[in-house]
Every structure is written in C-alpha cells, then in structure tokens.
Symmetry: C2
Subunit: 678 residues, 2 copies
C-alpha cells in the first residue's frame, strides 16, 4: 500500500509544464510567504503556550479565531518536509526544526497536545468534539509527523504524536471506561491510516477504524447520539448551536446524521465529507492490499457507500470546475443539482480545501477501482478549482472559488485568512503532487505503471531486489495532447502501462509507433492498456490524446443553469473584465450560442509571465425586456476567455464568469463527462 | 377612511361568477367545517382556561403547538361575523356568542387576555415578544372585536379588547416605566389602526404608531436592540434560537433588523412582512384622509419605504402565481430572483396567508396611490395563490402553494393544520371580499367609483344626506372580458368611474356605446377614466377588456428559471397528472416552446361541478443526454392545462407544475406584467 504523500519522492519533474511551474513557485516563494504569515499572525509561536491577545476575542462562538492554529502550523511543516526532500533550504529546515521543538515542548505529561485546551480552556478537553476541532488538529499533527519522519528519518515529531495517539486511543472506543466520541471535523482518520501504514502502528489503525464505524451511531453513548450526549454534558440546550447549524441537531453538517454505510447522499461541510471518505477509501485500500483485511461483507458495505456518495457528489453536486459545496452557511453541499454560480444566484462556495480533498479521495478510489473517471475528476479539480486558488506569483490565495462574481463577492485574492486552512493545504498538495501522477510497482507478472496525470516527469521504482524500472513522460500538457514515453529498466521487465484517456477525448487517440495486430490496444474503463508486448518492442513511443478543440459544457439541466461554459482539454475557461473591458454586470447578461465560432490564441502575459491558450468567441448582451424574447442584436460583441485558474491575476474590477447564458435551445456536453466510447 | 373589512357590507354579489361561487361555498360549507375543526382540536374551548393534553407537549421550542389557538378562534369569529351580516345562521350566531362569552371569561383582572400565558406559563407574560406571538394573538382578537362590533352593534367583545389594548399601551412605549418592545409577528398594528378608525380610539392609533416607529431600533431598550435585551432578560444565549433563525440574531426574519423606513428589500417571514406593511400603508391612508396627519417628512419616509419594499417584492421576489416566500425554514423571502418552483429545486413556500396579506397591502396601496398595478397584483393573488388554497368543495386546504410538486412535496390538500392560520384567514377574506372590488364615495365634484375587480355585483353608497349612488356590474369574469355596468342614483350625481385595465390587456379595450369626442376616454396609471359626461349620457354601458388569448409568461431571466407558464387573463395555468396521465416525473422534463399552438376548451367537471376553461397544447419530454442538446422528438405529446387554482381537486398522484421547460431560445412575457401601453 502506498500513498502519494509517501511515493511522491520517486517522481522528479523534468521539463517545465504548467503543473511543474506552479510547483516550482510554491517551492521558491509560497513556502516562505506562508512562513512569514505564520510568524506575523502569532501561529508560529502558538506552541510556546503563551497567551496571545486574540485568545481574548469572544466574538466567535463556539469556534474562536485561533482554534485551527495547530493545524496551520502542522500543514506547513508537512508541506515544507515534502519540498525539503527535493531541494534543501536551510531557512525552511531551521523553521521546521524550531516548530517541532515547540510542539514537543507543548505536549503535556499525559501526552495531550493542543494549544486551545492547554492555554485557553485547560479544564474543557474533549468536551465538544462536534465543534472544537480538537481531533482535527490532532490529525494534522499526525500527517506532519509522517512527513517529518520520512524526511528527517528521526522520531522528533513522531514520538510525541505517537504518545498523543495513545492518549486518544485510551479515551475513545467501545470498551468499558472509554467514551464513544468521534471528531466533528474528520481528518484524523485518514491521518491515522497513513501513520499506521508508514509505522505499522496497530493502535493508529484501530483508532481510525473505530472512528469510522462509530460515526453517526444514533445511540452510541448511554443510548444517545454522542453529540446529544456531549451537548447535555455541557449543560447546553440543543437549540443553542453554531451558526453553521441552520437548525438544531444539524448533524449532517458533520456527516454524523447516520452511520457512514447508511448514507446515500453526500451532505454537509464538503471538506469534512471528503476527508472522511478518503479515510473510508483508504480502509478499503488497506484491505485490498492485504495489510488489514476487512472481510467481504464489511468491504462491500464500505465500497457501496463510497460508490453512492461519490456518484451523488459528481453527478449532482459538483461544479464544472471541480468545485463542491454550494452553501456558504455550512461550507457545504446543497440539495441535488443546486449549483448556482455565485452569491447573487443563491450561493457557490467551492472551497479550495474541498477540491484538494476530492483529489485525495479520487486518488484513493483509483486504488479501489482503476477507472479513468476518478482520474478525470482528479485532473479537473487540479487544473481548475484548486489551481485557481493561488496567484501565479504564489503569494495570494482564494478560499472560496465561485464560478461568477457579483457585487457582494468579487473575484479577488487575499494574502491570508483568519481560518487559514486553504493556503498551506495547497502547499502540501503541490509538495506531494508527484505521487498523484501515477501508481506503479511490481505486478502483472512484471511491473506496471498506471498513468493518471500527464506532465513532464520521471518515476523510478524497484522491481525485486535488483531491478528498477524507470518511466519518463514528456509533454506540453494540458495544452497539447502529445505525450512521449520512455521506458527503461536495469534488466528486462514485462511492463504494462495503463494511460488515462480522458472522457472528453471520447476515446480518440493515436499511438506511435503504431501497434501491430498482435499487440492491439484497448481502452478499459478509461485507461489505454499498453501491453508488455508493445512496450518491450517500443520502449520509446508517443501517445496523442485527441479532441483538444474547445467544447461547450453545460451543467445538468436539473440545475436550472441554462448556461454554456467553454472548456479545452481539462481546462475550464472564464471571462474576466480585464479582457472584456466594457462589462459592468459581471457578465450576467452575456449570451452565447453553441454555434458561436471559437478561435485559439497562444498568449504570454507580460506582467505575470504566464503562458496559456486564450479563446475568442462572440456573443451579445441580452436585454431583459418586459415582453418578447430578448432578440439577438444585429452586431455581436467579441469575447475573450482565459483559463479559470488564471482569473484574478491581472488587476481588473473582479468581474468574472464561467457559465454564460445559453442563447440557443440546445445545450452543451452535460457535466460530468463520463462516457467512454473507446 | 374606509377598510374593505368594513365596507364589504355595501356590496352584494348578484349573478354567479367564479368569485361569488367560491364565496358561497365558504358561507355554506367552510364556516361550519372550520367550526367543527375548532371544536375537535380543543381550540373552541381554549378560552375556558382548562388544561389541554397538548399543553404538555414540549417537542416544539420555543413555539408550542397551541400558541396560536387564540388567533384561530379570533379569525373564525371575524369571518363568521362577515357572513352573518349577509345571511343569518342561528348555529353560527350561537357559536360566536358562546366563544365571545368564553373570551370575556378568560380576561384577567388587569385586562390581560391570552391563553398560553394564563394557563401554561402564567409568570412569563411579555418575556418573549420575538417568538411567542402574544401581540399577534392580541391583534387577531382586536380584528375580531371590530367585526363583532359592526355586526352585533354591542360591546361584548369590544369592551374586553379595549381593556386589553389599554393594558398593552400601558406597558409598551417610550415613556418612563414603559418598555420598548414590539411584536415579533406584526399583525396588531393593522388591527389597532382599523380599531382606531372604527371606534375613534386614540390609544389604539398611538400604540400602532409606536410599534411601527420603534421597530428595528438598534438601541431602543437600555441602549440595546429590544430582542437582545429581552434575550438577556430570559438568561438565554443569543446562540440559542428557534429553527426559523438560520443564524443567531436573524432579526430580519421579523423585519426588525432595521427601522422600517431604512429597509430597502423585503426580508424574512413573508406574512409578517405583509401584515407590517399593510399597517404602514394604513398609517399613510389615515394621514391622507386627514384623520391622523403624519407631517410631510414622515409621510414621505413611510411611502418611500412602501414603494421600495413593494417594488422589490413584486419585481424580484414574487412567483407568477402571486405567491411570495421561497424559503421554508423561515417561511419567507429568499434573495432577489431566487424563485425555484418546488422543493427539489431549492424551495418554494408561497404561503396562503402571505398572498392574502399581499391583497390586504395592495388594497391599502390603491388608497395611497391609485395605480392599476396594485389592482393587478391583488387580482393575481386572489385567483391564483389564494384561490388554489381551498378545495372546490370548501373543506380541504393548502398552507404552502408550490409551483411544482416533487417526490417530497406532492400537490395535495389537508383538512387542517397544527398551525392553522391559513384556513380561517381564507374565510375572513372571502367574507369581506366585496370590500376589495371597489372603492367609492362622494368626491370629484360628485361621486366616484374606482373598480378594482370585476365580477357580478352591486354597490350602493350615500352621497350627501339624501342621495345614494348604485353601481352594478355584470360579467363572466375571469373567463370573458365583457363587463356590463349600470349606474343609478336617487338624484342626478356627476359620477366618475375608474375601471382597471389589467397590464396583460396591453391597454386594449372596447367601450359601448362608443364615446363621442367630447367625452374621450383615457387610461391613467392602469385605470380607464369614465367621466361624468359619459356616465350621465350612458348610465348603462359595457366595457370589454381585450387580450384574453392565452399567453406565455416567464419568470425574470435572473431567476435562472428557463421556463414558460401559460396564463389567460388573470388566471395562471398548470399541468396535472390527472389530465396528462403518463407523467411520472412531476413534469420536470416536459418542454414547450413559445410557438406551440394553444386551444381553449370550456369544461364542466362532473365530479366537482366546476366550470373552467382548459387549455390544450403540445410539447415533448426532453431527454437529458450526456452529449448534445436533447433534440425535439419527431412526435409531440399532447398537454392539457387547468387553472392553477383548480389543482388537487380530482384525485391523481399529486404531480403538478406551472412553469415548463422552455424549449425555445426566446422567453415569454416577463413577470410581473407592468407596462401600460394605453
């Protein structure tokens, strides 16, 4: 069993691509920028356990401003460790070591390790798992410890975390003397499973397994739902509740309204949902790899839940940009097909962390069931909702990624957030992104590489004690479909390659050299299978993914979004006022049709240094007449589209939109694109 | 100054029309049905102040099930008094008198008069104005007292209510020793103003004026918002809140987030908003009539608020059926243009009471500013969202009036509701509907009648001490546009008539006999002005409103509802599964185009005895393809449309929809229809 956060080290990026360029920016700029933010906001020193003025601020309830500081620090450590293993930087190294020293110093005698409940409310440990992110913070410390251990190869962070895990394990469980709690914000589950895989800790695995099976138990604690019980213990009325709970007992907000295996629709806070399901998928992975067998029945009920919740999310609750979560109040999902593009249409949240977590889940699902659909969604999130969340210079971020701006919510970036989960999440994702490109290993009577993402990169891995396989890919992805592969190994190995053919390519590709009949190719569930017969004969070959021509995408008709978005390959486009400078109403009335002609233009933006393909088309601004149909005027206006990820990098007035009014009676390709015609 | 609840007695309905038939059903059937419900549910006897088992039920907080019983009884008394004045019924008379006796007996020494706070929580009077409907219940008692006084011409109910008003006045106000409260659910304000008008009570007027001016004061009580202050007095956290409050301090739910004159968008609970604005409009009416002058500046600030809030509501937050309120959680308004047709699209509430209250507000606005637009909306509500809420037999009701059914919320009726505000509201509306048809009186150098609604009815009123004017109208409205008028008076009077020409008629009408040049006609703000020159020469004449041909209506494009609804005259249509029996998906995929041919059919439904005009057209069921546009199949399906008000009367599976998918690229007439081309 492998995780991308572990395997990323096997991959090196070679030539510059969009992806490797972003990654390089994070390495050269973002890590330091975020370290500066940690320092200036008080986070860097929080494990010193001194009082900070913000701890006095009681205006937020129940979650005070500083509640996630532990996790902000932990995620940065995790990201820094990933980058340090590639290019050493003394300053970052020193910061990591100092932070780890402070964390070690903050641990209590019994192993407890949390800033808020040590400094601010020392008597209230474990009194509000539902809201207070205690176990969420613990989860991020565990992830940091794994990354730290793998890079530094010492126990400086692993040891205190191990002690903390033991303390948590002692408290929570089904045995006498334990309480039946589980975190309001899942995260520790996936952290524990990775920790277990890397360290072999049974305790960590069992704790994660307990959290996942206990969750949503209607009568777990003294015959009551744990959150009801703990509310009573606090002496609180159930009518007293966080603003994120629209009504009392909104336990679906934390996916605790039902046991996970009984849930059929993905509900509530979208980051929580994705972290939770990532852990569930990992549970199945650990079973399938033989590390921790679940038993057939249990495996089936977990995979059933995964399938139902994944499909519900992708088919009915995901934006064309890979964003999830329409509702700001609970940072999460609305009802099926409720996907307004922006605040003035009823909502759109599409949090950065949520799409990062979709990538994490999709990556796990590719291990549960190798289906190109998961890879498609992984890539969609990466190049759109995730990539848009950092400025090209690596210093400014978005938390929410709406598909349309409005007077209330312009398309703009911030240096930092009081709840700063997203920026360091991006850092650790880019740090480990090499691990998402492919999975590989001995197998299939030799070796295999399943290629999920295209870039210019190389991976090497051992096959047996003395043999090593190297696969190199080179491309100008995501702009061009041609990928050159070069396979080599110390000694000959029968190597099978599986290369993802995205659904939008509609099964259309070319391979060169062409295959002979004996080694005919086929696409299985979105992956083109290249047999050892071919690779042994053609260690160097190229694949060309076709259908890069711009296409019109439409949300599902039930979303009531009668709009068209432009996409090209995995890139979804938007219009911005910078390129379309006489727009004043956030492109709300700009209308296009499916038969508008689209042209492409290769651009190098002087200011940002960014290269991309812009699209040009034409449309008109509809009038909203009292009678009759808003006829198309005789003269169209020109429209320029840029990649959605590139928005908000060049000034402007923050006016932006992805889906424009559809002026034709036919719709575009319905999102998500799922058919494999190959 | 007159109110329709007072003037309705001047009007008698003559020939049968849709409106008078419904009214007759309420008289012959509904009043008794509702009386039976009051008796069987415990409401009838509640003023006996005995314990009822439901008082023990604590599952609802803060509003227990019985909290509105006072108002249910009061509204029924009010409705009964309206009908008694037309046709005496000994049983109803006896019930009213018995109820009044019980109410008298329930009044406390000091004048206090409320069931819950006398029987269930006697120590907590006035402790939670925000949620507990104490003043709302008082308001309905006051309205009942006015109706009772006008019919019985005695003080049996007026006297205790007067005493109660004095007690309330003593407690609330700006003087020393008073507290600065106001009701969470407005209603008492409009009741007090009518009471003041009928009885001349200055105390009632001043109390209403105080409530309206104090509302939303950010520092009314001890420097705090009254609801904050009262929350503190109860020892409650602001995070403890009713389920109708999505977040803490959701005071917009009761229109108390800002002083009324500073509000620019209509927010929150829609019935509260409409009752409140009806009182504001009445304040202006009382000023304009000279009864209670406001001063120019104050009048202007009230009318500014009325204009802004009315226009915001009608232009951006009203359904094509006259329904208001998209959101179930707070039974109220969503953001601008957020008007999904049903639960599975994000909401649709359109409460019966809310549209009744729009009628009440529109009626007042016609006195503030005689503009046919208010009459159009009044009529739209009456024949659609309001009329649909009672079965044709007068025994079954709806509370919520969605524009599309769904698996979760079928189109169906109930005998009664635990919160039973709507059924008796309907009763009192139909009882006083004569007062909404027209307003009239001496004026314009003789007499005038402004005709807002067409039917077959007659009104007589005094002009001077010895003269009386009678206007008779006869029509088959709303099916046909021809209305025959007959004007007479004891002695000759110069009478001006103003006849509303609905916006959908687009200024098109015919008058017969035709007018000579000297008495040329004109439409001013939606009213065709018939001068004394014409009426004196043609005391009998007919008006024909044109453009009754069925038309396509579309919600505003910003609503993202790319749908078409059919309307004919003031009637909005829907499709029901009864007539279209192979529908299984609530007509969600049924598609029509603006060029589909529509035919009319006069129908008499054997089962219900209902006559109406059905519409026939054709369309198709769209497929939701993954690629390409859901092309129109070669063969269409037939579609039958019935008036929306007629839905859910003939069995079926509860599948219904007003707006069908628009398969053309042009839209219909955008709702609301506001242009006057005449």
């Amino acid at each position: 069993m492998s995780h991308p956060q572990v395997t990323f080290k096997d991959t090196t990026f070679t030539r510059k691509t969009l992806l490797s360029a972003r990654r390089a920016t994070v390495s050269s700029k973002t890590l330091q920028t975020q370290l500066d933010q940690l320092k200036s906001t008080g986070r860097y020193d929080c494990f010193k356990l001194k009082w900070h003025p913000i701890y006095d601020d009681k205006s937020m309830w129940p979650v005070p401003f500083h509640l996630f500081w532990d996790s902000d620090v932990a995620k940065w450590i995790e990201g820094a460790c990933y980058f340090l293993s590639e290019s050493y930087d003394a300053g970052l190294d020193a910061a990591v070591q100092e932070l780890v020293e402070m964390i070690r110093g903050a641990q209590q005698e019994d192993g407890y390790l949390n800033v808020h409940y040590t400094v601010v409310e020392p008597t209230k440990r474990w009194s509000n798992l539902r809201d207070m992110h205690e176990l969420y913070n613990a989860g991020h410390l565990i992830e940091a410890a794994v990354a730290h251990y793998l890079y530094y190869k010492n126990d400086q962070l692993k040891a205190p975390v191990e002690k903390y895990i033991s303390l948590i394990r002692k408290r929570f469980g089904t045995a006498d003397g334990q309480v039946r709690g589980y975190p309001g914000h899942p995260e520790i589950e996936l952290a524990l499973l990775r920790y277990a895989t890397v360290t072999g800790s049974s305790e960590a695995y069992e704790l994660a397994h307990y959290f996942l099976t206990e969750r949503g138990n209607p009568e777990g604690q003294d015959g009551k739902h744990y959150y009801d019980w703990e509310t009573e213990q606090r002496g609180e009325s159930r009518w007293m509740r966080p603003d994120a709970f629209p009504t009392n007992r909104t336990y679906w907000n934390c996916q605790a309204h039902l046991p996970i295996t009984e849930q059929t629709a993905v509900e509530g806070h979208s980051v929580r949902a994705m972290y939770l399901l990532t852990a569930v998928a990992d549970l199945v992975c650990l079973s399938d790899s033989g590390d921790k067998p679940l038993g057939e029945k249990a495996r089936k009920s977990w995979t059933n839940a995964l399938d139902q919740l994944w499909n519900n999310m992708v088919d009915k609750r995901m934006y064309v940009t890979g964003g999830i979560g329409a509702i700001k109040q609970w940072e999460g999902f609305g009802i099926d097909y409720f996907l307004p593009q922006g605040t003035d249409e009823g909502g759109c949240y599409a949090e950065t962390c949520a799409s990062i977590a979709v990538m994490m889940l999709a990556e796990r699902m590719l291990h549960v069931d190798l289906d190109g659909h998961y890879g498609d969604i992984l890539e969609l999130c990466l190049y759109n909702n995730v990539m848009t969340s950092m400025s090209t210079d690596g210093t400014k971020f978005t938390y929410v990624n709406q598909l349309a701006s409005s007077g209330k919510d312009k398309s703009e970036r911030s240096d930092w957030f009081w709840c700063a989960c997203c920026p360091p999440n991006l850092t650790r994702l880019y740090g480990s992104i090499g691990g998402y490109l492919w999975d590989y290993g001995p197998g299939d009577g030799g070796a295999y590489v399943n290629v999920h993402l295209y870039s210019s990169a190389q991976v090497s891995f051992a096959v047996g004690d003395e043999n090593s396989v190297t696969l190199h890919q080179e491309s100008n992805w995501p702009w061009e479909g041609k990928i050159r592969f070069r396979l080599s190994s110390t000694n000959p190995v029968d190597t099978t390659l599986r290369l993802r053919v995205p659904a939008w390519a509609q099964g259309s590709y070319e391979i060169s050299p062409e295959t002979s009949e004996q080694t005919s190719l086929k696409i299985e569930k979105g992956y083109l299978i290249i047999s050892p017969a071919y690779t042994s004969k053609n260690p160097e070959f190229s694949l060309e993914i076709k259908n890069f021509a711009p296409r019109y995408l439409s949300p599902h008709p039930y979303s009531m979004q009668h709009v068209l978005a432009l996409a090209r390959g995995p890139i979804v486009y938007c219009v911005e006022d910078v390129d379309n400078d006489w727009e004043t109403n956030h492109f709300k009335d700009v209308t296009i049709t499916t038969d508008s002609r689209i042209t492409e233009e290769r651009k190098e933006d002087a200011e940002t240094g960014e290269s991309y393909i812009a699209l040009h088309s034409n449309g008109w601004t509809r009038s909203v007449p009292n009678r009759g149909g808003g006829a198309r005027p005789s003269v169209d206006r020109d429209l320029t589209f840029v990649p959605y990820y590139f928005r908000s990098n060049r000034g402007g007035r923050g006016q932006m939109r992805v889906g424009l009014v559809n002026g034709s009676s036919v719709i575009g390709t319905v999102f998500p694109e799922r058919d494999y015609t190959g």
